[in-house]
């Protein structure tokens, strides 16, 4: 950008001077982002094609795609497949992550819509509701995990106490420890914590719908349910799509909640958890790097598909 202006003897125009300044203003940020995002990502992908371990990062040798999939034919003629793509633990983690993402985002969207519709109505105490729903959002994930871990405790937890009290269960459930309920526990906490965020994003979309439309619909005697599905929902669809994509990306990379609430449970281990476990705890650094590269690829494909199918306008340019 700069060399465009150098050849001019009369000195650069205002526009060129501004563009040159813009370049220098952008450069530090771009360098910082390159150092913490682009470069580490490339190194991760590179490591995923080596046999690096934590202790011997620099003596690592290139082994191509063996961490992903390798096929060897033994002398007996038996064909042996190895690598992440034939690792049942990996596919279990993929299934856990996808299941978690779909269910949690589904519930969060539904509940978020309800909360947003409530907050969009005018009533006494609206400020109180907004203050209240900001609390789960403000609480650190680790704290939520511990708090709910205590409430879901099998012996002393209040959830079992309540459910026993109203007769929904007849014996105490080990929510976080049992294989059958661990995922439910994670889902409950995540939905509790992130519904507010969803509600606020949807509410911002709702508030851009002109009030006259509702007024007109009311005068014409249209049923409120029909108003919601025919008017409100189509109008807030762009905001809803953006909110869903943001949440979906967050859900697909979930780590902290699962790690703290249900440690070492095969029923909840997600892709992020299993990658880090291999990378750091099991000293299979390169293998973990391959898994995290796969997660990155899955998310990248998902985002492109979603943007392409939904024609989501993330940049907001069409509005201006």
């Amino acid at each position: 950008m700069t060399d465009l202006t150098l050849g001019r003897a009369a000195g650069p125009s205002l526009k060129q001077r501004r563009q040159r300044a813009a370049f220098w203003f952008l450069a530090p940020m771009l360098i910082a982002l390159f150092c913490v995002a682009a470069w580490p990502l490339l190194r991760t992908i590179w490591f995923s094609m080596t046999d690096a371990s934590l202790s011997s990062m620099y003596e690592a040798e290139w082994i191509g795609f063996d961490n992903y999939l390798s096929v060897r034919t033994l002398s007996s003629g038996r064909v042996v497949f190895r690598g992440t793509l034939v690792d049942p633990h990996w596919w279990n983690a993929v299934w856990n992550t996808v299941r978690f993402a779909l269910i949690s985002v589904g519930f969060e969207t539904a509940f978020g819509l309800i909360v947003a519709l409530v907050m969009n109505a005018e009533f006494k105490g609206r400020g109180l509701v907004r203050a209240a729903i900001l609390i789960p959002w403000a609480i650190p994930t680790i704290v939520s995990a511990k708090m709910w871990g205590w409430m879901l405790n099998d012996q002393f937890g209040i959830i079992n106490d309540i459910l026993l009290g109203v007769g929904l269960i007849d014996q105490k459930i080990a929510w976080t420890a049992s294989v059958d309920t661990a995922m439910t526990a994670v889902l409950i906490v995540d939905i509790w914590k992130t519904t507010p965020f969803m509600a606020l994003l949807i509410l911002a979309g709702l508030q851009m719908v002109p009030r006259d439309i509702y007024e007109a619909a009311r005068l014409d005697g249209v049923h409120p349910v029909k108003v919601f599905f025919r008017i409100t929902l189509p109008l807030i669809k762009p905001a809803l799509m953006v909110a869903v994509i943001f949440r979906m990306l967050d859900a697909l990379r979930i780590f902290d909640l699962v790690y703290v609430l249900t440690p070492n449970s095969a029923a909840t281990k997600t892709m992020s958890v299993i990658s880090r476990e291999n990378m750091i705890d099991f000293d299979k650094f390169a293998y973990g790097a391959a898994q995290s590269t796969l997660l990155f690829a899955i998310i990248a494909v998902f985002v492109s598909l979603y943007i392409w199918l939904g024609r989501v306008d993330l940049s907001g340019d069409s509005q201006r």
């Binding site: 982002l33 650094f285 998310i299």
Partner: protein, 276 residues
């Protein structure tokens, strides 16, 4: 709002349920954190005892106060760093027309959607290479990946909406871009800076994956890692009282800040996504 009584009652019941669900878990954590001994293990919906022993245990421990200091230092530096880089960059992105601006904005947004695990291996190498493993600088460096794109994105949307006239007047007066940013825009940007700074602070304060991976000694842990790895006298016994007391200590300041700035925070949260 419908006017007949039954639906009004139903509506307020729904409001009550929402508020109860949102507030109860934290309320219950506070109630539990004040009870010790056998009282801790009896479910009680109302505060019955008021015992500060858990708080004394946590604040008197060797490492937890240190963790709080670590977190404050790391989050503070991260915010300062991100805001400094973001103000100038978002001026360029919001105010100067150049080729590839839309693409650049999309790239920045894409970085904020990165799964953090995807850069973990590469960052781990970088952190060890720079010799900052197990120091606060490892976190300050790595948190840039989520605070910087976010602050740039939000500040750009804020700056776009400022009137053109003031900038034109400054240009006519012969001000260069640096003067325009520091003298003209910065005073107008304070509300946006407070909001984005606060959101970035909360993000850095709550981060877990990098803090867990890039620290090895107890004295270097940040607050979330310290809480997650808090253990009792024996392996089997989980010290619920101190854990919940520590949780309350690190959460109350956040909640107070969020409630004070709630209007600005809601505006900042939604500025990123819903403009389109």
């Amino acid at each position: 709002m419908t006017r007949n009584l039954p639906s009004r009652i139903a509506f307020y019941a729904l409001v009550a349920v929402i508020v109860l669900f949102a507030v109860f878990p934290f309320y219950y954590a506070i109630v539990t954190s004040f009870s010790t001994g056998t009282a801790l293990f009896q479910v009680s919906y109302w505060p019955k005892v008021f015992d500060l022993a858990n708080y004394k245990a946590v604040l008197g421990s060797r490492n937890f106060p240190r963790s709080i200091l670590n977190s404050v230092f790391i989050a503070g530096c991260t915010v300062g760093f991100a805001l400094f880089l973001a103000v100038t960059a978002s001026y360029a992105l919001a105010r100067v027309r150049f080729r590839g601006r839309g693409l650049l904005l999309m790239t920045i947004l894409a970085v904020s959607m990165f799964p953090q695990i995807a850069v973990l291996a590469g960052l781990f190498e970088l952190v060890r290479f720079l010799g900052i493993f197990n120091t606060p600088w490892a976190m300050i460096l790595s948190y840039t990946i989520f605070t910087l794109p976010f602050t740039v994105w939000v500040l750009t949307t804020f700056m776009r909406d400022l009137p053109v006239e003031i900038e034109e007047a400054a240009i006519v007066d012969g001000a260069n871009p640096w003067v325009i940013i520091t003298r003209v825009f910065l005073p107008l940007l304070w509300p946006a800076l407070v909001t984005t700074g606060l959101l970035a602070f909360i993000g850095a304060w709550n981060e877990f994956l990098f803090a867990l991976t890039f620290t090895s000694s107890e004295s270097m842990r940040t607050v979330p890692v310290a809480i997650a790895l808090l253990t009792g006298a024996s392996q089997q016994e989980i010290p619920w009282g101190p854990i919940l007391a520590a949780s309350v200590i690190v959460t109350v300041p956040l909640i107070v800040l969020v409630l004070i700035f709630q209007r600005k925070i809601v505006a900042g949260l939604t500025a990123g996504g819903v403009k389109g």
